[in-house]
Amino acid sequence: MTEHINIKIRLFSHARYHFGKNEVTIALPRGSSIAEIAAELRSMGGTKFKKVPFRIARNHKIAGDNEIIREGDELACIPPVQGG
């Protein structure tokens, strides 16, 4: 049986708005990639969230699609930024 790990993802801006909360927890098979968790997050969001572009940050850096998620990683959903 595939072992799953629970991954928390912090949400900001449009992601926080559409999910209505500051973070979500997703259970994924151990060894899942950033692309897989992004796809899962996308499928969990509502219709309007599907149009929101975002990247995933892993431990405070924008992550590549093929990076493997480790237990204890801090993940965040980063919609287009708007500082200034």
Binding site: R10, F12, S13, H14, R16, Y17, A57, H60, K61, E74, A76, I78, P79, P80, V81, Q82, G83, G84
Partner: protein, 135 residues
Amino acid sequence: MKVTFSDKPIFGSEAEYAGKDTGAELIFLGRVRDIENGIPIVALEYEYYPEMAEKKLTEIAHETMEKFDIQNLECTHRIGPVATGEVSVRIVILSRNRKSALRAMQWFIDRLKSEVPVWKWGIAQDGKRFPSDTK
């Protein structure tokens, strides 16, 4: 428009470093406009991802110092609600000559706006909050 000649001192910022060899002090103040995404607002609320934003902004400031011939750079970005007309970001750059300061300022602001995880929420006149679509 207003232009003046004066025999009184003109004061700059209170930036930490301004030596006798400093020829340019460039101050940029970003202010909150009263319209966001076409909607009249009373304020913007700035949200950020603290750990990542502080790391990224520091990294960009270091890169700017290395890339351009400038002497100092200071940046303060507001977080939380900022009323229309108030300053949301303040950047000060000191350099020996103006060209370096102007180029560095443009580069630093462009990087800040495109890479630092800060987001804006509009607060409409009826109090409703909405995430901004402005990039």
